[in-house]
């Protein structure tokens, strides 16, 4: 039986419709119309969707393959830096010092020339290429080393954390030539379009939505293919899978690289929309937060990852404004409550609701829950 991605395609539809409507409302309606969507909301939505992509990236490795990565922020940030470097070079001589060759932060710290790794970053295609190549290679090398040596479980998790932590420290160093703690900022335009123009922001949102949808569809294809089932098999009984002749480390490496690339693309889309990339993105706590989004949404389901990322970040936005002094209580409580009462996250809740609505006849037995909370329906989603 093919497991259908039932009840999930609608999510893609809703996303598309909502973002298109928002974009139209922003561009076509006058600012005083009650249906006008402010650029603030557009940008916010763009950011959320980048996070949703990142969440999917984590979910693919964690939810489906049991690789709990506490360092996916690293790939996100590397992608972001790639884009940031491009945007930085686009500033050209419009920086405060008017130096056409060096970014501002290099000028006032007395750099004499552009470090070699900045060369070519003024070409969009090259920057994108590097922004994929670097995190992809890092994921490959790290994954290859780790999976080949059969580093698993918490050991792997903590190593991913060490990885992002080491990168954070490295990028903090001003000698690295990435702007140290301040990172890269003050971008002006992308591909010749003014980054501050509403139309550019809307376009960025639409591009992001496009990538979220593509990621979703591709990932869904993957997890529903036999590959997807091998991956789940690896998660549950890696040794057994190996004895069936599957080179589990290859599966893991490629999945890890795929996931890292998604994270990198998310990072690339994130930077022009929020306007800054700095080493804070490498912080291990950031990566842990991503895992938390996925868990809240329901791991092992792609749409759960999206829903979790959107919900938690929306909650954060609202709470930090509504109760600036106490929002952490609310957010913390949310995490605790979801874990205790919704073992399969929000997706599990949906799943149950949907199940109640139309119990499907003809199935030999009902869904049975494994102790880690996965069931057939969700594994396929």
């Amino acid at each position: 039986m093919r497991q259908p991605g039932r009840g999930t395609s609608w999510l893609v539809g809703i996303l598309l419709v909502v973002t298109l409507a928002m974009s139209a409302a922003n561009l076509l309606l006058p600012a005083d119309s009650p249906f006008y969507v402010s650029t603030y909301t557009i940008t916010l939505m763009g950011k959320y969707l980048c996070f949703a992509m990142l969440a999917m990236a984590v979910d693919i490795v964690w939810g489906y393959c049991g690789i709990l990565s506490l360092g996916h922020g690293a790939f996100f940030a590397l992608g972001g830096y790639g884009m940031g470097m491009y945007l930085m070079r686009q500033i050209g001589d419009r920086g405060v010092y008017g130096n056409p060759n060096l970014p501002d932060f290099m000028v006032f710290l007395n750099w004499q020339e552009l470090p070699w790794y900045w060369f070519g970053m003024d070409q969009f295609w090259f920057a994108i290429f590097m922004a994929l190549l670097v995190p992809g290679t890092l994921a490959f090398v790290f994954g290859w080393l780790a999976f080949r040596s059969r580093v698993t479980g918490v050991y792997l998790s903590i190593m991913t954390q060490a990885l992002t932590y080491a990168l954070m420290l490295a990028f903090f160093r001003n000698e690295m030539g990435f702007g140290g703690n301040n990172g890269l900022t003050d971008f002006k335009d992308i591909l010749g379009f003014d980054l501050q123009a509403d139309a550019t922001r809307v376009a960025l949102l639409l591009v992001t939505t496009f990538f979220v949808v593509v990621t979703f569809l591709v990932s869904r294809t993957i997890v529903q293919s036999r590959l997807g089932r091998v991956i789940v098999a690896v998660r549950d009984a890696e040794a057994r899978t190996r004895f069936l002749g599957y080179r589990t480390e290859h599966y893991k490496v490629w999945l890890f690289v795929y996931s890292a690339l998604i994270a990198a693309v998310a990072g690339m889309l994130y930077v022009p929309q929020v306007g800054i990339i700095n080493p804070g993105e490498f912080s291990p706590l950031n990566s842990i937060e991503v895992v938390v989004w996925v868990a809240v949404g329901g791991r092992g389901t792609l749409y759960g990852a999206i829903v979790g990322a959107l919900l938690v970040n929306y909650a954060k936005t609202r709470f930090t404004a509504l109760m600036p002094d106490a929002w952490l209580f609310a957010l913390g409580a949310l995490f605790v409550i979801v874990t205790v009462y919704l073992p399969r996250g929000l997706a599990g809740l949906f799943g149950r609701v949907i199940e109640l609505v139309h119990r499907r006849p003809g199935r030999g037995k009902e869904q049975t829950t494994r102790d880690d909370g996965l069931s057939v329906a969700e594994v396929g989603a």
Partner: protein, 231 residues
């Protein structure tokens, strides 16, 4: 000694035990048989308190114990040897045996010698990790471990799975010995007819989560076997 009435059990939405009744006499040695998936293990787990029953009654010495937690059931004298042995893999053999000591009612805090009399191999293996033992050794350890708590009832779930013939015999002897000399009530789930016949004095046949037949072992005839045990 143990009386089960109208026991129902579900995994999620799937019902496994259906209005199951079972009566075990004090001092008896009862063999529960049935096909794969009939619900034998499930029944024993309910009895041990490791699975919640959705309805029904379990009486131990006349007292209802559905609400009693598993650890308390160990203390009132139910010893359990699970299917698959479930040795604590990273504890040494000695530690595996010590775990049950506090549950003894007589306050003894030393592994009783009797255990080593019954299973001399264990004495040699005291300092090895339980998980490293071979299957048969683990099985012996599992029985020994259950005996440490000085139970009144001993529950064994397929104790001979994967055990070498002479030890199967030995286990059979031990069980008989415990039952007859020490007066221990024994509940045994067993698939192998030979062993069941040799050790058990009564039988219960299960099918689809219910007890279909109960009698003295001598009355287990081919007809019953074909009806309830053949595939």
């Amino acid at each position: 000694m143990i009386r089960i009435e109208k026991l129902n059990q579900k995994y999620g939405g799937t019902q496994i035990l259906w209005d199951l009744d079972l009566n075990i006499e004090k001092g008896s040695c009862t063999c529960i048989m049935g096909r794969n998936g009939a619900g034998k293990t499930t029944l024993l787990k309910c009895l041990m308190g490791l699975l919640p029953a959705s309805s029904g009654q379990i009486l131990f010495d006349g007292k209802p114990i559905q609400q009693v937690a598993a650890q308390q059931r160990a203390k009132i004298g139910i010893g359990y040897v699970p299917q698959g042995r479930d040795i604590f893999p990273l504890l040494t053999v000695e530690e595996n045996l010590q775990i049950g000591l506090p549950a003894r009612r007589d306050g003894l805090r030393k592994i009783p010698e009797r255990v080593f009399e019954l299973f001399p191999v264990l004495k040699e293996m005291l300092q090895r990790r339980g998980g490293d033992l071979s299957g048969g050794q683990q099985q012996q350890l599992a029985i020994a471990r259950a005996l440490v708590i000085d139970p009144k009832v001993l529950i064994l779930d397929e104790p001979n799975e994967g055990i070498q013939p002479n030890i199967v015999r030995q286990i059979g002897d031990v069980v008989t010995q415990l039952n007859q000399e020490d007066g221990l009530t024994v509940i045994l789930v067993e698939q192998k007819l030979g062993f069941a016949r040799r050790v058990g004095r009564e039988f219960r046949l299960m099918q689809k989560g219910a007890v279909m037949a109960a009698d003295k072992m001598s009355n287990l005839n081919d007809e019953l076997i074909r009806q309830y045990l053949a595939v």
